[in-house]
Amino acid sequence: MPFFEAVILALSSIRAQKLKSFFSLVGVLIGVTFLIAVVSIVQGMNVYMTDKFADAMGGINTFQLQSRPGMTFGNVTEAMWKEWQRRPRITIEDAAYVEARVTTPARFSRESGTSAGVGYHGKMATGIDVFTVDAEFFRIKNWNIADGRAFSPQEVTAGASVVVLGGELADRLFDGAEPVGKTVTIGGLPHRVIGVVEKQGTLFGISLDKFAVTPITSPARLLTNRPHVIDDLQVQAIDPATMPAAVEEVTTLMRVRRGLKPNETANFNIATAQDALDQWGKISRILFLALPGLVGISLVVGGIVIMNIMLMSVVERTREIGIRKALGARGRDIMAQFVVESATLSFTGAAIGIATGLLLAFAVRALTPLPAAVAPWSIGLAVGLGILVGVVAGVYPARQASRLDPIAALGHE
């Protein structure tokens, strides 16, 4: 019997017993749903991490010299944490020392930040990230100014009380009115708004536009760290290819400045976007390791269910098999009929699973900050696995069917 007709026949048998067919393919459906949903979410995260996250960190050619890691995904032991607490902070002098000696062409910006309330005319936005930085900060972050201007190196030198606002903060305080030229208070200290940064959107659901940037010499500086102490020095290698050289140079300079012996571990930290990406890489590898297990178990269970249903189906349709044999079906025709039916059943489960998996992935994207992106290979894999499970599960029942004695089968009630 031609393959196409076998599929039509299989579909009509499946349609004839909708409920039973549906239950029989639930296992495959769940397995494939898992596969598609998890792969889509992980894939989305991958795209997100490499595009947006690295961007938010200042791009892959930027790193921070800081006293301790600001962001960790892995295990941090009590001892490590204590050691971090004891480390000397980075100072203005450290920054000046490094900046003066690095030979790799690079941009530098000291950064000292805090979280504070920003107010305007009785309106108050709390929990705003306040960055006090150098003028190069805007170029390092690759931020465009939507309105007004950024501050200049001269304003940093002069310690001007000026501020550049994040887009969302500006919206909240000014509600559509022109912010440039107005005076806002940062932790109670007045600063004149000179610009607004173009909106960046969100990262994992958190707005990237709720911030205020002032010169590191502005009054807001007093809210952040003790005098001389800063959070970090941002360094951006102008040529991305020289980034490792710049990291190397800064590390060496800091070790020399702190008088570390060659066998002593560094008491400062270099954070790169690559570190965060590597951390994410570890997490996604773990997810991808767990995935085959989850999907595999569902598919094996699904296969067993289908095999059982097919065995039942062979018994129920013994007479049909007898009729077909009497009319000239060979063993292999009957075998093919049941294998195709099983594969069609399983494929149907996989197809529905792909749909529910995608639906789930998009629901996650719509309802949570987690992104999702469809990986075409996962759909191909799901289709392949669906058919494979059906064929494997169908072989044994189909063989039973093909071996039925036509006389006994015709006499079967």
Partner: protein
């Protein structure tokens, strides 16, 4: 009309029923020529069903030889037997044995599917066969939408569609009332008149009188084999 279409030579068939060996056929010799209309009769246990399965190539003999239309089928393997059933034999069963979910047309197309005939040709031949048995109007009905007589006509159309050497009917009227039985027997009569070889297995003497030759089995052997006078009321299409 001397060409022999069926030739059985010393056919025996033994099988085990539990620990007991049953000798269903104990040496049957039989010849049936093209365009004969033969009824095989006999009480239950006479070997009637066994010979029917044997003639239909659903079973193979323990000993002896069987030629069907020149093929020696007694030594064939399953796949070859399936091909012979498909090409040479048209089955008509007591219980119709139609596929319940398939339309009359699809049921009639079934042997052509296994003969590897595709698409339009298959449909055209199935339609012709249904017209031959007077069911041209109902070919898209499912079996459960048809009367008993109509179902049996579908089964006859299915048996004819591959132009088999023999039409092999096993108690074809066993599930039908007497009026419908007459109707079905008229179909067989008409087909025979058009040149079809018909072998009828029945225990009803009334049905057997439609045939032109009656073979009676008893205890696994041919007990009698004689021609019957043509019926006065018989052939009409």
């Amino acid at each position: 009309m001397t060409d022999v279409i069926i030739k059985l030579e010393g056919i025996t068939r033994d099988y085990m029923m539990g620990a007991e060996q049953v000798r269903a056929l104990r040496g049957v010799d039989l010849e049936i020529r093209r365009n004969e209309y033969v009824a095989i009769m006999g009480p239950s246990g006479s070997g009637k069903s066994t010979i029917m399965n044997m003639l239909g190539c659903l079973d193979t003999p323990s000993a002896g030889r069987y030629w069907l239309n020149g093929h020696e089928v007694s030594r064939m393997k399953d796949d070859d037997l399936a091909r012979i059933r498909n090409r040479e034999i048209g089955f008509v069963f007591q219980t119709f044995n139609l596929l319940p979910r398939a339309s009359a047309l699809a049921n009639v197309e079934l042997p052509l599917v296994y003969a590897g005939i595709s698409g339009r040709d298959r449909r055209r031949r199935a339609e012709t066969a249904l017209h031959r048995v007077g069911l041209g109007e109902r070919m898209h009905h499912k079996p459960n939408e048809l009367s008993g007589g109509q179902r049996q006509r579908v089964a006859i159309a299915r048996a004819l569609v591959n132009e088999p050497s023999i039409l092999l009917a096993d108690e074809p009227t066993g599930n039908l009332d007497s009026t419908t039985s007459e109707e079905i027997m008229r179909v067989f009569g008409a087909l025979h008149a058009q040149g079809q070889t018909v072998v009828l297995v029945t225990h009803e003497p009334e049905i057997a009188t439609h045939a032109h030759r009656v073979v009676v089995l008893r205890d696994g052997r041919v007990d009698s084999d004689r021609a019957t006078p043509p019926r006065a009321t018989g052939v009409a299409a």
